[in-house]
Symmetry: C2
């Protein structure tokens, strides 16, 4: 990298960071992308890993592999401790990276609403590790029941509780019900997986609250058709090993999955004013007020559309923002004025399960099989790299034809507890795929 | 399972156990297959997972999935504590499983020759967990060097040391050299992976000692062509974080891999007389002397051929033994006399790297590209399940065409140490895929 080139540092290899890097690579700049992981995770398909439909290698791509043909992009695998905005430095554990432009796309994780102790019991679905841990627990729950039934002739019921009725909670609940009733139905001799109870809990009066009401109703119908027990306007008051508390009601739970709150990366606090979710409030060009050389994009940015409506934490938003920021840096280099960011909403999709989904294209609302085919087409197209796309299509076609789940591996800590404490959370997990 | 049916219990879902189960399923018996894992691991391709070529889901198959169409086969995921041979019971942690016939196919793991403390530093390659841990360490070693080079302008050399020159050590060393020189060569900006040093250490005077001498010589030539530094007649005296000791010589090692000794499952000791590797000495029908209802097969059995030559620990041996034992149980049920086991050796293959392998068909010895194509054809044919076979073929074709490694994910504990202690062993690993 020649010294006179502007140095651009990008934090995060998600949709926003990768798009910014590939777009900027065309300009005469020296780019350093920093991520604590070595891979991009295709989050929209994480639920398929959690439910044993896909392998991690099929929904995650090594960042170096994605960027290796861009010679002016350097990838650095590292944790970011913070920033020295005055000296224009990114602070790592043991050294600093100087920048002329900084793009922070560090994303968000789950919020447990002040109950961080719930996280170990009820993992969320943000990382490959999360997904594999959920897969391990779900598959172990059936093994524990089968083992108990063989030994004693009877077994405790298998219950899955999903907390949060947004897109992630809906797809998890729907797919869990689906694999219990189809994929795993004939794998066991002593238990009947079809008797598995899947409960979806949502605090507000409807699932997919960000969608139009008719699509929420349709999603509810499709969930119930798949066998999911949906409880809206219900607040969880406690999460304990083996059970979920709703006021005085105790809901037994073999596996509890958290799909509720969102908390922006703690790095946001170091960049300036943030909203209650910890997202950084940015100008119309996505730069930090007072620091035109620092941009925040994706789930970490609190940006709004023309009508002041906050933009959702979706891949298309992050991708469009990454592109916009890259071009504004290009304009700075040419002394041209920056342009404000405009989000083009091409519609939003949420999948529920086999042949079940909803799609919101503004005036046009679509449900069921067609929405589901749309969902898969869009996401497979998005999947980074031909190889993944091909494999995921094969996996999906195969799974659809045969009802099989191809990635049903329990690895890492596979010790089964005795029947006394047939819960799968209370053990140090060394999940692997 | 009807009571009058003979109860057959099989310990282990490897090649031997699975073959015994599928063969026995045709007889009027009630079969219970017990394994501590929920999946069969296709061990011949584990090195591909360890070197990021394949994902675990592509070389492992859920045992329930493999057996689910056999209604008289029940799968029990459980650790086996021991046996009560007099009362004909398999002892689990908290209950017992009675049997009329018992087939023990519990396999073998690595022997560290009394230095069990070496295991954490130099993992072997027996399980999916092993393979993922090696993959994590290998990929992290390059990330650590790149990070150090970006920060300081220089970096400690990346060295891989493989201990043991048998088939596993040879394929690991060859493939590590190959990915350093091809797959990863263009992924880094500050380091040159092609300068990676791969050392293979073997105690006896030649690699692949179980093969004819000319094939050992050919394997050595092919290894050196791939850039592997081979040291024969060399004994390792110490394994420490970051280094391997050979007498007074200190060999720096970023990642050390153990491919040396074999130790049969401890369950063997409970079944009767065993050889020095802990393998159970069996009669010609593979039953335990004094217990005609108990059979031992696969890596756990010390069986010999007609000329008294001990049979190797290979998949074909286990598969043929599984079939033979199943048919002898069938003969018992019909009051027919048992037949002694005869191993039909169809030849043995060892892969070394890209277009490099050796094949021993008795009189006919083959090396290089042809042997390599043979190796892949045979192993893909063997791979359980059409799906896996198809995916592995695609992965392999893709990797061959593009030199890419598709499964280059570092997951679990991805914290990088400072440069002071740039070793990857000394951290609690939560490997995932």
């Amino acid at each position: 990298m020649s010294a006179e080139r502007a140095r651009v540092v990008i934090i995060g290899g998600g949709f926003g960071g990768l798009t910014a890097a590939t777009t900027l690579a065309r300009f005469p700049v020296a780019i350093t992308l920093i991520d604590r992981k070595n891979h991009h995770t295709f989050q929209p398909l994480l639920y398929q890993v959690a439910t044993a439909g896909l392998s991690p290698g099929e929904i995650a791509a090594p960042i170096r592999g994605v960027l290796h043909k861009h010679k002016n992009v350097s990838v650095l695998m590292s944790e970011v401790k913070g920033f020295d905005l005055a000296r224009r430095r990114v602070l790592l554990e043991d050294f600093e990276v100087p920048y002329d432009f900084l793009i922070v796309a560090a994303g968000a994780s789950h919020s447990y609403f002040g109950h961080d102790e719930w996280e170990k019991i009820a993992p969320g679905l943000k990382t490959v590790e999360n997904a594999l841990e959920i897969r391990r627990r779900v598959l172990l729950a059936f093994e524990i029941a089968e083992r108990q039934a063989i030994a004693t002739g009877t077994h405790d019921p298998v219950n899955f509780v999903v907390i949060g009725g947004g897109p992630t909670g809906v797809e998890m609940a729907g797919t869990l019900a689906e694999i219990a009733r189809s994929s795993l139905a004939h794998d066991f001799r002593a238990i009947d997986p079809r008797r598995t109870r899947v409960v979806l809990i949502e605090g507000v009066p409807r699932v997919l609250p960000a969608y139009p009401e008719d699509l929420s109703r349709s999603a509810l119908r499709q969930l119930e058709k798949l066998g999911v027990e949906v409880r809206v306007s219900t607040r969880v008051t406690g999460v304990e090993p083996g059970r979920v508390l709703i006021g005085d009601t105790v809901l037994p739970s073999s596996v509890t999955i958290w799909a509720a709150g969102v908390a922006a990366s703690p790095l946001g606090k170091q960049l300036g004013a943030s909203d209650k979710a910890g997202r950084v409030i940015v100008d119309r060009d996505l730069s930090v007020p007072g620091h035109p050389e620092v941009f925040v994009i994706g789930d970490l940015a609190a940006a709004s559309d023309e009508r002041g409506k906050p933009l959702p934490g979706l891949a298309p938003v992050a991708i469009q923002q990454g592109r916009a920021v890259a071009h504004n840096i290009g304009r700075d280099l040419h002394g041209a004025p920056r342009r404000p960011f405009h989000y083009r909403n091409k519609g939003t999709l949420a999948t529920i399960g086999r042949a079940a989904a909803v799609a919101d294209f503004g005036k046009l609302h679509v449900s069921g099989f067609i929405a589901w085919v749309l969902w898969w087409s869009v996401h497979i197209m998005f999947l980074i790299g031909f190889r993944n796309r091909l494999l995921v299509m094969i996996e999906w076609a195969w799974a659809y034809m045969t009802y099989q789940r191809s990635a049903r591996l329990i690895t890492g800590d596979t010790r089964l507890p005795g029947f006394a404490n047939a819960s799968v959370e209370d053990r140090e997990s060394k999940t692997v795929a």
